[in-house]
């Protein structure tokens, strides 16, 4: 069942595409704000510059956690694209994310510490919705296998409209977009210095940036699963979703974490219960 080729393709291509997506993101964002914006390749220049810098750390263990974050995020994405088990992918994602949090904790710095706690709050906010999404896809396609879900003829998005919207809601958290860029942000206006990444600099910060590209591609792949019945619609939908996220990012002010957690949970409960119940009834008989 495991398709190693796709996994390798992901490992090699994701940072390239992810970097380009980040560049396009910045360009569009700039246009929305009435600026010319940087070159589309700017993210690559930025990361390249980070790697040229001297590694400065509060303590060495930070680098270890950054590397673990990097490796397990690649692992997560590769497992996803190699048609792994969707639930296992979700768990691997959590593992990767925890390493970033640990890296922030390890520095014993007030700002990165608050960032770490907030990052955990964010994980706590999106995790239920992600699990519900995975289970929803299983109910729709009778399989947890990513390959089966991606190539199904079932129009998943029509069966899971609520779950799709709920997933988009938490996707904003995962992509670190306003209004939910609470633990760290890509915007110039930060809140707690730079949150989880406050104490990362130079190459290790570059590594975290690349990890984020991997993550973006993995998440867009996740969005694609909803449209697996028609690849063309799927790709278009993924692009629209990302443009929508950019729009949301630029038109919303950052909210407090309380609102982020409460609203994500409320939405997860409502769409989870309603959509899954409806699905079971549609499937016939007792839910």
């Amino acid at each position: 069942m495991i398709n190693i080729v796709w996994g390798i393709v992901f490992v090699l291509l994701a940072p390239v595409i992810g970097g380009l997506v980040a560049g396009i993101d910045r360009k569009i964002t700039a246009r929305m704000q009435g600026r010319v914006g940087p070159s589309i390749l700017q993210p690559f220049y930025d990361v390249g510059k980070l790697f040229e810098k001297e590694q400065a750390v509060v303590n060495e263990t930070q680098i270890f956690y950054a590397i673990c974050y990097f490796i397990f995020m690649i692992f997560t994405g590769a497992l996803f694209f190699a048609s792994g088990d969707l639930l296992l992918v979700v768990f691997a994602l959590t593992l990767a994310q925890i390493f970033l949090v640990l890296g922030a904790f390890s520095a014993n710095s007030p700002y990165s510490y608050v960032g770490a706690e907030r990052e955990l709050l964010q994980i706590m906010a999106y995790e239920p919705m992600v699990i519900i999404t995975a289970v929803g896809m299983y109910v729709a396609t009778k399989s947890f296998n990513v390959g089966d879900i991606a190539t199904t003829t079932v129009p998943i998005v029509l069966l899971l409209p609520g779950i799709f919207l709920g997933f988009l809601y938490v996707l904003t958290i995962k992509l670190r977009k306003s209004p939910f860029d609470i633990s760290t942000s890509h915007h110039a206006h930060q809140e707690i210095v730079k949150g989880v990444t406050t104490e990362f600099s130079g190459p290790s910060l570059g590594l975290i940036e690349i990890t984020h590209w991997y993550e973006t591609i993995f998440l867009l792949g996740f969005v694609y699963l909803f449209f697996g019945f028609n690849p063309l619609i799927g790709v278009v939908a993924v692009i629209i979703v990302y443009l929508l996220e950019i729009l949301i990012d630029n038109t919303n002010a950052r909210v407090k974490w309380q609102l982020a957690v409460k609203s994500s949970w409320l939405i997860a409960i409502i769409v989870g219960v309603v959509n899954l119940a409806a699905l079971y009834f549609l499937a016939g008989g007792v839910p």
Binding site: V57, F75, L88, L102, L120, I131, V135, V273
Partner: protein, 638 residues
Amino acid sequence: MQLAQLLIFLILFPLIAAFFLFLAKKDLERAWIVKLSALAIAIVSVYLLISTYNMGGLLFSVVPAEPTGIIMFFLEMLIALAILYLGIVHKKWLVVGLILIQSVMMLWFELVYAHSVEVSSNLFIDEFSNIMALIIGIIGSLICVYSLGYMKFFHESHPEMKDRRPWFFAIMFVFIAAMFGLVFSNNILWVYFFWEVTTLCSFLLIGYTKTEEATTNAFNALWMNLLGGVAFAGAIIYLAMFGNGIMGLDTLLTSGKVIALIPAALIGFAGLTKAAQLPFSSWLVGAMVAPTPVSALLHSSTMVKAGVYILVRLAPIFQATFTGYLLAMIGALTFLIASGIAISQSNAKRVLAYSTIANLGLVVACAGIGTYEAIWAAILLIVFHAISKSLLFLSVGTVEHRIRSREIDDMNGLIVRMPKIAAMMVIGIAGMFLAPFGMLISKWAAIRAFVDVPYGFVFIIILAFGSAMTLFFWAKWMGKIITVTSDSKNIEGEVDHSEWTALTSLAGLSLITTLVFPLLSTKLLEPFLMENYGHVAQLSQDNIIIMIMMLLLLVIMPLSILIPQRKDKHVQAYMGGRTTTHDMWFSGSLGVQKKTVLSNYYLHEYFGEAKLRPAGIWICTALICIMFAATALRGVFL
């Protein structure tokens, strides 16, 4: 014949050890008795596994029901008298009332029905009992070994308390004997007897220090468990009256739901009290006043595991019944609410306690659902929880003796101050919530089990939220431990030899069981499920390989420390431009020097105990009432 002797050995040998421990007054004698008996018990429980390998369920009729039954009844009455006496002395009238009701019930049973009850095979062994025996025999023994060092230190640092170690160790071993008896008994009367012995032992151990708080909490635990005991006695009387003399677990399971559902619900209720499910969670949290090895024993290999053991045993009866769903709902809500409360707790032992309650809730949820997949998940949860939780308790105990605190915030920078124990704790915590470790495999199994049952999605949603909370409180604790406070000194010192043996063995076990989990599943769980349900649950080959890859990655990564690196430039943590000394004192307003103190988020406003616990108690009490009403109605109509 020979197998039966092994079972009898495991039940009686700890009793003999207990007797000698009660007599041994010298440290050295005690140390030898504990170590040798622990070794013997562990070896025999492993030998039992080897010799029953591939044999399925076996029933034994070697031990005659009489006069054993009479002896047990006599002992029960003695225990009842002792509890009665203690209840009157301490003016705990609830306990007095419950023990009177229970004794009258059992007396009535003995006089009126006992002769009409016949159980041909009193002892039995199958894969599930085998797994339980391994948990009790290995983890329980390790905890006893650990106690040697801990209790010595405990009494050195609490000179005001009377040193009653002979008593303490004797009770620990009686506890282990009772647990073996419980998992090997087929005769429900025997199960009941051992059940009551565990109640008594936990009461004595919780009240060990004899402080006012300890006594109060011990009685709190006692009345809740006695309430369960009353329900258990009710089940026995019901079976005697309407059950055509059925009194064996094997016959009960095959007798059909019409007869079995009401007694199963009653025993299930007893299981809920023992497994500290809401509304009965407070006894387990209160049990924290006892010395830490007691907590470890109660939480991992004995007591609460007895509660979930009996529920999992009876699961085929609960399957696809309204009673079962309600039971599952009680478990699921307990999981959700206890996980939430754990977020708000700053005391390490209380976090562990609420996490135990939560995980047992998940086991109860699986048992209530009762499908083969759910049972597979339930047994995995029992195994992995026992290992990780005992490891965590024992680490916390050792840390507590060094830093004189159980507060998580005081464990800041433990990785620098006590690197070895911190590593053990990190393994324990990772085992509780991260892929690819045991507990996460089990949660995964639980999700897969819930997907395929009616109304399963409700349980999945509860599970999804519960595990998100679980993640939050474990990760922030882990973060505290691994924070590098570069100026702290290493205060680990010499960890007591016996403590260290137990800790490393448990840490090793948690890694090894994750690695050999596929074997555990195919060799023990699948035959058990096949025999009882006719189906097997398993993870696909691909997933197992991926998990092993993850585990290897996780094990290899820390080794990267060994690679010589160039020395990186060290900078101060960003302090907003304040002048800060190297050990994080910064100059505040008016030139006052202040220490940077970092504390976790506890979110009392949302997850406070005062807020969630009453809600949980009311909801779960209501569910229990509905469960009994529904079961009784069903009994009437059928």
